[in-house]
């Protein structure tokens, strides 16, 4: 028959078989029509359908034709000291009988297990291990009583007979609640722990082996039997279980079986007990799929599984959190990452029952770094004793990042190799630390030197192991990247790529792609974006060629491609966002717990910010926070803290101050917990919080935080940029509080640091401009004028003269003019700002408010009292109307004071008293006790009281003011006049 003919036959069959059998004859006739051959063919085949035959429908199986044993020993048969009663089961190892002692010595029923001879390779070993097992004496373990060899050569074991049901069934029958299930579980742990104490590993813990008696006691069966019997050397296939559901990864890949394997099985058991399902459902599908899930997929969250299951035994809400973390820790792929002992697991479960915090959730030193667009600085200067921890953490960082990418692929193999490589590197670093003698220099973590040493050693030692070397160099490149040492990172990554291509060739593939992505990452951090993009496109081609375009590794490439477009045109940025979304999509589907997903989310947020899409950025930040929190706090405190930090940071710039404060505080707490206060990111977060509190008017708290952050930031080479930012903010704060000396010191430091750095000119000039203000009040007028003019000219080059920053600088110039005794010039400047910043109507912008206050002061200087009073009153009105009232306390203090002085000078002391008192009280809440502005306000109030002949009340105020004046190291003549009783009829006081 030809193929086309057959196709017709098949099509016909498809149609007919879909119909009920009664219609077949008619249908075949209809379809075949005149074609007799076709009809014959169809009919003959139809006749052969239906029914089942045992050959074609059975599966082929293999049996040995050799020794055939009877289906079971007859009742009454003697085996050793026992007499068989009946067959009770058929296990993988052999038959199990219920038996009793034949000599009637004890009324004891046992389970007699006959073991197939072939399974026991070494009789003596069997004996020895049997004796070890016999010593396992624990109420929770079915006791091994006796053993021997039958007449027919089969070994047997007599085990305490246990009547009970599997633990899962028991709990279902009893409708056990959470506490009862946990207590049962703890009893199981106790039994297993006891055996571990005797160095016996169970290896086959599953509900079928954990029975519960009628009395409610647990009994473990088949303890260590697996270990005893399968003494053959080739572990891999011997131990290969046919149902992998309860198997630990190392059991599936033939690695060493340890007590950690039992921990894993207990984890599975706990999972099943608490939510009624196994973590990995194979749906009866391929063995291979099931195995791969176990080896590669992250453990599903217990509470989530319970939540979405049809009939959970325990409400999912009571599983959330602690129990999630416990099961996750017990079910880690790497044996070394699980609970190190069963007792530890048991204790954590106990803590849940007693409502104590569980260890599984404690913050750990290892962390994963999230990324801001362009900001990843990791280097920390550290005192000697913290050194090892930091280095381990550094390695851990790069480690986590790489393992995260790798996790979807060949987890076991890579992790094994990765661990070896990690140990190697750690060793090198430890050695290097010994070479560093004590002293100040050594206290600064000189990672550059360390990495140099590491690289040299690696080149030498790993010359003959190209694969390991490639791994190590890739790690080093990443480390350098993380540390901001971008030229080294680039050099290493380039070298690595070149060597790989020389060794393996340039055919597109996954291994090459990985290295291309590493190099591209280094290039992006150096702004060599075009080259990076090219590499990334090629890497993606390579992944596609290897069929891995839908993998976490490819997602990393998409992420970098997205990052590479951050300073492009709008179209380029939009394309970048597309790539980021692709990365997110892949990770969400394929590897939802991969830390890389956090990177993608924070990058998407940054892009939204660039696009001025504040709402979008907030959504991404919130998703980032949710993601990190869901990973659990145990190893993720840093990432969660960082997520709070960036969310709070974003909220602060969008003026949601209360939310921002809350989130920043959380962030600071978690970050400090995770990596200590000295870490740059923890310091950054504190600085950010301090800045926010400053704007909210909590100046004392703000100052403390900023000083703290500054100290941490200033002590590292890499933290310098952050330190200048913090110094500027702190300088502002101190100036505003009246601690001018400290403000001067800080701002001068900034100028010193930034003086010769061409990249920092704008920042330099901002600090210079602020310093000019401070100096103006301190009386260094010449220097103030020089600094101000220079910085204003620079601003004119960098920013539009209509911008807010420029307006603020102008206002500072106006105050300088006041300090120089030139109120007319000052007034002109202020008027200009008001005109350009918008009308001083009911709603004033920040700048126009400042200018209005300055103008009021200038008016007072020139004796124009009424306009001054009106200005001050207008500002107060605007403040009262403003939705941001609470942030305008400083402005209110100034306005009240100016209003009071105007009233006082127009002769109305009584009315002046209220605003002046208000000014003083506001100042007291805002300023340092020795603040000149506070002193000034007090003096004004004192004059007001004296004008009302209340000299006695005035005295206290004057004394305070005088004391403050004395304690101020530098005070300009202009201001000093204020604080003398005779003077002070003048207005001065605009600060900015």
């Amino acid at each position: 028959m030809s193929r086309p003919a057959w196709d017709r036959v098949e099509a016909a069959l498809d149609e007919i078989l879909a119909l009920p059998e009664s219609e077949w004859t008619e249908a075949s006739a209809r379809i075949a029509g005149n074609d007799a051959n076709l009809l014959a063919e169809i009919n003959s085949l139809l006749a052969c359908t239906g029914g089942v035959d045992s050959i074609l429908d059975g599966s082929l199986s293999m049996e040995s034709p050799a020794v055939v044993h009877p289906t079971g020993l007859a009742s009454g048969t003697r085996i050793g000291a026992y007499r068989i009663i009946e067959l009770i089961g058929q296990g993988g190892m052999g038959e199990v009988y219920r038996a009793e002692r034949a000599d009637g010595q004890y009324e004891l029923e046992v389970a007699l297990k006959l073991i197939r001879a072939e399974v026991v390779e070494h009789a003596e070993r069997f004996q020895a291990e049997r004796q070890i097992l016999a010593q396992l004496d624990h109420p929770g373990i079915a006791r091994l009583l006796d053993g021997g060899v039958c007449d027919d050569g089969r070994p047997y074991m007599a085990i305490e007979l246990v009547r009970g049901v599997p633990i899962t069934e028991w709990c279902t029958q009893q409708r056990s609640d959470l506490a009862a299930r946990l207590r049962l579980f703890m009893a199981v742990c106790d039994a297993v722990a006891h055996a571990h104490g005797a160095l016996v590993v169970h290896r086959d813990i599953k509900p079928g082996n954990v029975l519960v008696t009628a009395a409610g006691d647990i009994k473990l069966l088949d303890f260590g039997v697996a270990k005893l019997l399968l003494a053959a050397p080739d572990n891999a296939t011997q131990n290969a279980p046919l149902t992998p559901a309860y198997s630990a990864p190392e059991q599936l890949t033939g690695r060493a079986i340890t007590t950690a394997t039992d921990v894993y099985a207990l984890g599975i058991l706990l999972f099943e007990l608490l939510c009624g399902e196994l973590p990995w459902k194979s749906d009866g599908r391929s063995f291979g799929i099931a195995v791969r899930k176990i080896l590669n997929e992250t453990v599903p969250t217990l509470s989530r599984r319970a939540r979405f299951s049809k009939d959970p035994p325990v409400p999912w809400t009571s599983l959330r959190g602690d129990l999630d973390a416990i099961t996750a820790k017990a079910l880690r792929k790497e044996p070394g990452h699980r609970y190190s002992t069963v007792a530890a697991l048991r204790d954590d479960v106990d803590r849940v029952l007693r409502h104590e915090p569980v260890t599984a959730r404690e913050g750990a030193r290892l962390y994963v770094i999230g990324r801001f667009v362009r900001r990843q600085r990791l280097l920390v200067a550290v005192a000697g004793s913290l050194f090892a921890v930091i280095v381990a953490a550094l390695i851990g960082v790069a480690w986590q990042a790489r393992l995260a990418v790798r996790e979807a692929q060949r987890a076991e193999r890579e992790a094994g190799k990765a661990t070896a490589v990690k140990d190697f590197l750690l060793d090198i670093f430890k050695q290097s630390s010994v070479r560093n003698p004590g002293g100040v220099e050594a206290k600064k973590l000189n990672v550059e030197q360390l990495l140099d040493v590491g690289t040299t050693q690696i080149t030498a030692q790993l010359r003959n192991q190209p694969e390991v070397r490639e791994e190590v160099m890739d790690t080093l490149a990443n480390l350098n990247d993380e540390l901001g040492l971008t030229d080294r990172a680039k050099a290493l990554a380039t070298q690595n790529l070149d060597e790989f291509q020389a060794r393996v060739g340039s055919r597109p593939g996954a291994a090459l792609a990985r290295l291309q992505v590493s190099l591209a990452t280094a290039l992006i951090n150096r702004d060599e974006l075009a080259k990076a993009r090219d590499l990334l496109h090629r890497a993606l081609e390579g992944y596609a060629a290897a069929g891995k375009i839908d993998s976490a590794e490819a997602a990393a490439a998409y992420l970098q491609l997205g990052l590479a477009s951050y300073n492009g045109t709008t179209e380029e940025k939009a394309a970048g966002v597309e790539n980021l979304r692709r990365a997110l999509d892949i990770l969400t589907r394929r590897d939802p717990a991969n830390p890389l997903r956090g990177d993608v989310l924070s990058t998407l947020a940054s892009f939204a910010k660039l696009d001025e899409d504040d709402a979008g950025a907030t959504r991404w930040y919130e998703e980032l926070l949710a993601f990190q929190t869901a990973q659990g706090v145990e190893r993720n405190a840093f990432a969660i803290g960082y997520a709070y930090y960036v969310l709070g940071d974003h909220q602060s710039v969008t003026h949601r101050y209360e939310d921002a404060e809350r989130n920043l505080r959380q962030g600071v707490a978690l970050l400090t917990q995770a990596v200590g206060p000295q870490h740059p990111t923890a310091a950054d977060a504190r600085a950010r919080l301090g800045e926010l509190l400053f704007y909210m008017g909590h100046r004392t708290d703000a100052a403390a935080l900023l000083e703290d952050a500054l100290q941490a930031q200033a002590s590292t080479a890499q933290g310098i940029d952050d330190a200048t930012e913090t110094r500027k903010t702190l300088g502002d704060l101190e100036f505003t509080r009246g601690r001018w000396a400290r403000a001067e010191q800080l701002l001068r430091q900034n100028l010193q640091v930034m003086k010769h750095n061409p990249d920092k000119q704008l920042r330099f000039n901002i600090s210079a401009s602020h310093l000019a203000s401070v100096l103006a009040f301190e009386g260094d007028l010449a220097e103030a004028r020089a600094l101000h003019d220079a910085s204003l000219e620079a601003f004119g080059r960098y920013m539009s003269t209509k911008s807010r920053g420029y307006a603020r600088a102008l206002v500072r110039g106006g105050n300088l003019a006041l300090a120089e005794g030139n109120p007319e010039a000052a007034a002109a400047i202020f008027e200009r700002v008001i005109k350009e910043a918008g009308p001083a109507g009911a709603e004033m912008s920040d700048e126009s408010m400042r200018a209005a206050l300055g103008l009021a002061a200038a008016d007072l200087e020139q004796g124009r009292i009424e306009p001054a009073r009106q200005q001050a009153a207008a500002v107060l009105q605007a403040i009262a109307n403003s939705p941001q009232r609470t942030e305008l306390v400083e402005q209110e203090a100034q306005a009240q004071r100016l209003l009071g002085v105007a009233l006082l000078r127009s002769g109305d002391a009584a009315t002046a008293e209220t605003p002046l008192r208000r000014a003083v009280s506001l100042r007291e809440s805002l300023d340092d006790p020795d603040s000149p502005w506070l002193a000034q306000a007090r003096m004004d109030l004192a004059r007001c009281l004296i004008a009302q002949r209340r000299n006695a009340e005035a005295r206290g105020l004057r004394d305070l003011a005088a004391a403050a004046q004395h304690r101020q190291p530098k005070l300009g003549a202009y201001f000093r006049r204020e604080l003398e009783l005779a003077g002070g009829a003048n207005g001065n006081g605009g600060k900015y």
Binding site: L45, D53, S54, M62, P65, V67, H69, L252, S286
Partner: protein
Amino acid sequence: MAGIDGNGIVIEGNLGAPAETERMAAALIPLMYQDLRRIARRERARVRAGATLQTTALVHEAYLKLEHLVGFNDDEHFLRACALAMRHILVNHARDRMARKRGGGAAHVSIDEAPEISGAPDEVVIKINDSLLELAQLSPRLAQVVECRFFAGYDDAETAVALGLTDRTVRRDWVKARAWLRRELGAGADLTLEEA
């Protein structure tokens, strides 16, 4: 017929599998043969009732071994290769035993190591294989379904994965293929097993 010497195995009767699958199957065969012998030894004293070694166990063992070494990207590839390999092994096995029974031919597997393929007499296995080659001329897909379901012992779901089909298609294909085989093997052919 190809020899099973670990090198240069030629798999007879490609049912339409791509060359890569054939290559992989060729690599699998010696591995699986080793396992076959080991399993046979291990299973020697097994009681007939109850535990018999399914062909899927062989597949599982091979899978673990290879996963360890190579890692797989997709089950489809592996499962197909395994099915092909299984067919090869089982058919050769049957041929060897038949040759030995007739007293001729080199025995590649010593007699006490060779498990009998129960579930089908050797002649039937060989006949099914021969028919399959014919079926492959008409519809490679139907033949592959038989290879998966019958020789490799996959269920509908696994067969679907191996061949990139839906479960429903597999079921329908199996009905058609089985009908064809039954007809080919002769209307009188007794395809039911005698009680062991």
